[in-house]
């Protein structure tokens, strides 16, 4: 139990709730005293009004009909229910008449309001009581012309009682509130503990190797759910990277082995045939060309996986896409002309994004290479490749479309994969990595690569966020 409490105390929510409860309790305490105090003050001031009216009435009786009439009036009033206190005393404070048996003489010889409630004894009260058991009163004292002191007062047993009732009620409700608050927080905290336990059990399973395990999301959409969702996204990303890495090693094993074997066979065959100097040189030149192409493939693979692994590979800066598209068009226009392809350029002015010029240019040249290589119409029509830049709706779209055979829709996802080539005979040069890189570059820029139909032909659209 003690450990459990300590564990509970280590939950931030519980600590905060205790602090809140304490602060609230202090405020409530202040409120209790303030409210009871002001209620008493209100009652007291009402008493004072009543006392003043009575004093004025008695004075009037005295002025009109003399001292005896006033004392008679006092006696008459004393008999009524809830009567005030009346005293007539001499200059020394000795009580001459009234319904009070004993009180401090100082009150009787000092004119004006008593500063504090004072103790007194009525005629019905026991004698020799302790001060805090005696009745208390507030009163006003005034002098009469014939050297008499008159005091009119009221017992304040009522406001005292009222104050006590208020304090007791508030105290009770506060205790209930504290207990209830503590219990509520206790169970809430226990719930929080349970959720945390669930999360830590899940992470344990993930660490043990269960890659498919995800943290529980209850659907309450609270901070636990949000945290779990974030962690799950992170886990998804990690497993994507993980499987990407596995893909790469698989592809390396599969697609680099073939050319390496070819290379080895070439050298072996040359050695076996005892070549002359001329032939040996030719073979060596071929070997260099072959290993260059292997290196190229290897570099492209590395590049793709590094771009896929995230943004730390390359700085992303403000970038003028219009300029980039113009540059790439200028770079490729002579190539297209040489190949007998018309390379059209359609741009929009001043389109900007946040990106990496190198990577985007490389992606774009890959798309152009593809179109120049595979995008020729089969019916002998002149080949046209269009490089287009559009922007709108917060997006910048660079598209490369040709009027060639296009890619059947069922193959459009496949061609994005590494080493996937539609040309099964592999008669045309190419690594099968071009679109995989474009896709990775698009993702790095929070964009997408869309492959569509330009009727006829392929339309590859690089959709990027515009800036």
């Amino acid at each position: 139990m003690w450990n459990r409490l300590r564990l509970l105390w280590s939950v931030t929510a519980v600590r905060l709730s205790v602090a809140y409860t304490l602060a609230f309790g202090l405020l409530a305490l202040f409120l209790v005293f303030y409210m009871s105090g002001s209620a008493v003050q209100f009652l007291t001031s009402q008493y004072r009004d009543a006392i003043e009216r009575e004093a004025a009435g008695l004075q009037l009786v005295y002025e009109r009909r003399g001292i005896n009439a006033m004392i008679r009036e006092m006696e008459f009033r004393s008999r009524g229910p809830g009567a005030s206190l009346y005293v007539v005393a001499d200059k020394e404070g000795n009580i001459l008449a009234g319904n009070v048996r004993d009180l401090d003489k100082k009150i009787l010889i000092t004119n004006g309001w008593t500063r504090h409630p004072f103790p007194y004894d009525g005629f019905g009260d026991q004698t020799n009581r302790k001060d805090d058991e005696r009745s208390r009163a507030v009163a006003v004292t005034f002098s009469l012309p014939d050297a008499m002191q008159v005091m009119v007062g009221k017992d304040i047993g009522d406001p005292d009682r009222f104050r006590n009732i208020v304090r007791r009620a508030l105290g009770l409700s506060m205790t209930m509130m504290l207990v209830a608050g503590f219990l509520i927080w206790f169970f809430l905290g226990r719930r929080a503990l349970k959720r945390i336990d669930m999360v830590s059990r899940s992470t344990e399973r993930i660490m043990a190797g269960d890659r498919a395990e995800r943290l529980p999301v209850t659907g309450a959409n609270d901070e636990f759910d949000r945290l779990s969702a974030r962690m799950n996204n992170m886990l998804d990303r990690i497993s994507t990277l993980d499987s990407g890495l596995r893909d790469v090693s698989d592809s390396i094993a599969h697609d680099l082995k073939t050319p390496l074997t070819r290379l080895r066979n070439k050298v072996e065959a040359a050695l076996a045939s005892d070549p002359g100097k001329r032939e040996a040189q030719d073979v060596l030149n071929e070997v260099i060309a072959d290993s260059d192409s292997i290196i190229k493939t290897f570099n492209a693979l590395l590049m793709i996986s590094r771009v896929e692994s995230g943004s730390q590979v390359a700085e992303l800066n403000g970038l003028d896409l219009t300029e980039l598209v113009h540059d790439v068009h200028e770079l490729y226009e002579p190539v297209a002309e040489e190949e007998g392809v018309e390379l059209r350029l359609e741009t929009a002015p001043g389109v900007k994004t946040i990106g990496n010029r190198e990577l985007l240019a490389q992606g774009l040249t890959n798309l152009l290479d593809n179109s120049l290589k595979y995008g020729r119409p089969e019916n002998g029509n002149p080949a046209v490749v269009t490089l287009r830049l559009e922007s709108g709706g917060g997006k910048a779209v660079i598209s490369v479309s040709d009027n060639g055979p296009g890619i059947p829709s069922e193959h459009r996802d496949k061609v994005r994969e590494r080493f996937h080539r539609l040309d099964k005979s592999r008669s045309k040069p190419g690594s099968g990595l071009g679109l995989a890189l474009v896709e990775a570059v698009a993702k790095l820029h929070s964009g997408t690569l869309e492959l569509g139909d330009s009727e006829p032909g392929l339309s590859a659209r690089l959709v990027l966020p515009a800036k």
Partner: protein, 260 residues
């Protein structure tokens, strides 16, 4: 036709001994006899580089780690430093930064297995003048080193470039050969400007792509060849001797026609 003319100078035809190389160099207007410091920890790679540089007519030294490389660079005067990025004792970038902080401005080429965009940027910021990713072709390294060693500092740049009867005016952006004006596109002008700045030296395709287009990747199609042949058709078309020649297995060279 151009290709046949251009295949004149494969790297392998260079003379084998240093003395012959010196003679050869002075005759053929090559960049020769440079003092090169190779800081490379892989002994096999270093041996290969030293041998290849000697055969190309240069005078290479070798340091096997970053610290001794730094000491050698401090106590000798070299034309070019070739610095491997990952070295024992002191890594290449730190050694280079140390040299630069002492005011040593010897051109340096960084060799690295890391070829990503930002690695190159980091290398150049640390004081490297050029960056080459492993694995590389020796012809590429040689071309870059020779260009680096005789690099014209911007403040010494001339407004008029002249190679043989070919003239280029950087202010008016006019190009003439034999007095006849040649019209070039802006990019062709940049291309020719770079070739003329490095006249007599082999420049590779990647060097051209980097210097003229500022791209550091390897396009699948050989775009540079097409641009070069366009440029060649403009400057060599009406003349008997081609100045812009292809060096097989390496790149291109712009040379004044040899005085016959």
């Amino acid at each position: 036709m151009h290709e046949e003319q251009a295949a004149a100078l494969p790297v392998s035809t260079r003379p084998a001994t240093a003395a012959a190389a010196f003679l050869y160099c002075s005759i053929r207007d090559y960049v020769c006899d440079m003092k090169i410091l190779v800081i490379e920890d892989d002994q096999e790679a270093a041996d290969y580089l030293l041998k290849a540089f000697r055969e190309a007519g240069h005078n290479p030294d070798h340091a096997a780690d970053g610290l001794s490389g730094l000491h050698m660079a401090q106590s000798n005067s070299y034309d070019v430093l070739i610095v491997d990025r990952m070295l024992p004792k002191l890594d290449g970038l730190t050694a280079l930064q140390e040299l630069r902080s002492e005011g040593d401005q010897t051109p340096a080429l960084i060799l690295s297995a890391l070829g990503q965009v930002d690695d190159r940027v980091k290398g150049l910021r640390s004081g490297g003048d050029d960056y080459l990713t492993k694995p590389y072709a020796f012809s590429e390294l040689l071309a870059r080193v020779e260009v680096l060693a005789r690099r014209v500092k911007p403040e010494e740049a001339e407004m008029q470039l002249r190679v043989g009867d070919l003239e280029l005016d950087r202010l008016s952006r006019e190009v003439r050969r034999g007095g006849n004006k040649i019209l070039l596109q802006p990019r062709e002008f940049r291309l020719l400007e770079y070739l003329m700045q490095n006249a007599g030296k082999v420049v590779t395709r990647t060097m051209l792509l980097e210097e003229v287009w500022d791209y550091h990747f390897d396009p699948q199609t050989n775009v540079i060849d097409v641009h070069i042949s366009r440029l060649r058709s403009k400057i060599d078309k009406d003349f008997d001797t081609a100045m812009l020649q292809t060096v097989r297995g390496a790149g291109y060279i712009l040379k004044a026609p040899a005085e016959a």
